[in-house]
């Protein structure tokens, strides 16, 4: 079964990426997690994302394009990266999510991947 692990980070956690005092532990933790999950042979896909201020959001409303700087909603935790994994069940997906640094530095939403729509 495929799940997406949607990893959200707080601003404080994300700022560790460039903080000389914290960057070593931050990247050390992430690199080790990424290797461990890769070595488990369950990763379909996954990426880290540039910070939310680099986002651009587009909507079409009443036939007009609305382009905005920034993420679609300004929330305490922002999307920082994702994995799509193939595991037997939700319990296993939860186990991997718990090992991710995002579990303590934010939150992880775990969602099953939708199967392709039925062919009419």
């Amino acid at each position: 079964m495929q799940f997406m692990l949607i990893m959200n980070e707080t601003e404080a956690e994300r700022n560790k990426r460039n903080d000389p005092a914290e960057a070593g532990a931050y990247w050390g933790g992430w690199t080790a997690f990424v290797q461990a999950i890769q070595q488990a042979g369950i990763v379909i896909n996954g990426d880290g994302l540039q910070p939310p201020h680099t986002a651009t959001t587009l909507r079409i409303r009443d036939g007009k394009r609305v382009v905005q700087d920034g993420p679609f909603a300004d929330t305490k935790e922002q999307l920082g990266g994702y994995f799509v994994i193939e595991v037997p069940d939700l319990d296993t997906a939860l186990e991997w999510a718990a090992k991710s640094p995002a579990a303590s530095g934010g939150s992880i939403e775990i969602r099953p991947i939708m199967p392709p729509p039925p062919q009419g």
Binding site: G24, G28, V34, A40, K99
Partner: protein, 417 residues
């Protein structure tokens, strides 16, 4: 106190009522559920009836006062609800009637209700119940924890946990699993299931390797409560004593496990003055009591291993030879991945890095691929054998598999040297 027969005291304040109801819920929940469900094995209906009884208490007691025997009041209220729910069925509650009549007698106002919790524990850990739901079932029926709390501790979604609990209760009723203590010939095996279920609530990651005793995510207090209960109900079972001793040794070190800044402190670096002496003394006594019963088992051996660790600060040295013997004994009694990894850690600490590596490499790769203590121990063993490259690879994997952020930070610092 004096006369126990007093009619309800003048109506106390709302806070006192709530306090009494909450107190009764905590102290008597499992007792009441065990008694209600023993009648027909219907745990779900018993839980519903009891929670309605608690709700009724919150409504009635403020106007009529707290009854002399709150437990008996709750039992009567819950039982009436059960009877209403089953009105169409022939109610066979003669035993219950007798209990209630005795409890209603003035002299019995403070007498505790009969204890069926031991039988309930055996029901929860029955072989017909799926292993992963035995502990949750015990936590819910005996301690009254809700599904969401239990789900978080076991890293399962609350919906899934709720469904598992509902299915397990339906199975108990449908399969007619009896509310009784197993016969003597079946007792040892069935008791082991009960002990394992209690131990699972305590958390399992701490026991594998000396120095990674991390059990912050567990329900340690609840597990110790259950083990105490089991010991009080079966005082002649050495493994029950051993399990309680084991958990007390580990729990006694709780305060020393985290530094003032919240950082993780491994066993060998802990300030032993922060260990809770009372718990350690209690654990030692339990272990002595267990050994007098002359039936050695897995939990007594694991407790003995903890006992040796705890003695180290007193004697000034760790008795590695004894640790090694107890680990070898454990492997003959109960060979598990955790026991092998722990044994390797002892060998490595004794300066036998090469033997440690041999033990570790004898394990099945698929069994250990996500087992964090294996990788921590492997890294230490490679380091001891002067193989820095292999040590670094193992350490990287260990860090990637660590759930606790404080332990992860500790390992990152270790790696940096």
């Amino acid at each position: 106190m004096g006369d126990a027969r007093v009619t309800p005291a003048p109506v106390p304040g709302k806070d006192r009522i709530v306090e009494t109801v909450v107190g009764a819920a905590r102290a008597s929940y499992g007792r009441l559920i065990a008694l209600l469900a023993a009648r027909d094995g219907d745990l779900a209906a018993s839980e519903d009836a009891l929670s309605e009884a608690f709700a009724a208490a919150l409504k009635v007691w403020p106007t009529r006062g707290i009854p002399a025997n709150p437990d008996a009041w709750l039992l009567t209220a819950a039982r009436n609800r059960l009877i209403n729910a089953h009105r169409h069925e022939a109610v066979k509650a003669r035993g219950m009637d007798e209990i209630l009549r005795r409890m209603d007698a003035p002299s019995a106002a403070r007498e505790p209700i009969p204890d069926q919790r031991l039988a309930l524990m055996f029901v929860c850990a029955h072989p017909a119940i799926q292993e992963d739901v035995r502990t949750p079932l015990m936590l819910q029926t005996i301690l009254g924890l809700d599904a969401a709390q239990i789900a978080s501790a076991f890293l399962v979604s609350p919906t899934t946990m709720g469904q598992r609990l509902v299915r397990a209760k339906a199975k108990i009723k449908a399969a007619g699993i009896g509310f009784k203590i197993p016969d003597l010939d079946a007792l040892p095996e069935r008791l082991e299931d009960v002990l394992s279920a209690i131990y699972a609530a305590f958390g399992t990651s701490f026991d594998a390797v000396a120095g990674s005793d991390d059990c912050t995510m567990s329900l340690a207090e609840e597990a110790i409560f259950l083990a105490r209960l089991l010991v009080s109900l079966m005082p002649q079972e050495p493994e029950a004593l051993g399990l309680l001793a084991l958990m007390l040794y580990v729990d006694a070190r709780k305060a020393a496990r985290w530094g003032t800044d919240g950082a993780f402190v491994p066993l060998k670096g802990q300030d032993a003055t922060l260990w809770e002496r009372g718990k350690i003394i209690e654990a030692e006594d339990l272990l002595v009591r267990a050994s007098r019963l002359n039936r050695l088992g897995r939990f007594q051996i694991e407790a003995a291993i903890q006992s040796i660790h705890v003695q180290a600060p007193i004697t000034g040295t760790t008795n590695w030879a004894a640790l090694r013997s107890f680990h070898e004994l454990l492997l003959t009694h109960r060979p598990s991945i955790g026991a092998f990894v722990s044994y390797a850690a002892v060998l490595q600490a004794m300066g036998q890095g090469r033997s440690a590596l041999e033990v570790l490499s004898s394990l099945n790769a698929s069994d250990v691929s996500t087992y964090q203590p294996f990788w921590v121990t492997l890294a230490a063993a490679h380091r001891a054998c002067d193989e820095p490259a292999a040590a670094a690879v193992a350490m990287e994997r260990a860090i990637g598999l660590t759930e606790n952020p404080m332990v992860r930070a500790f390992l990152l610092r270790e790696r940096a040297g």
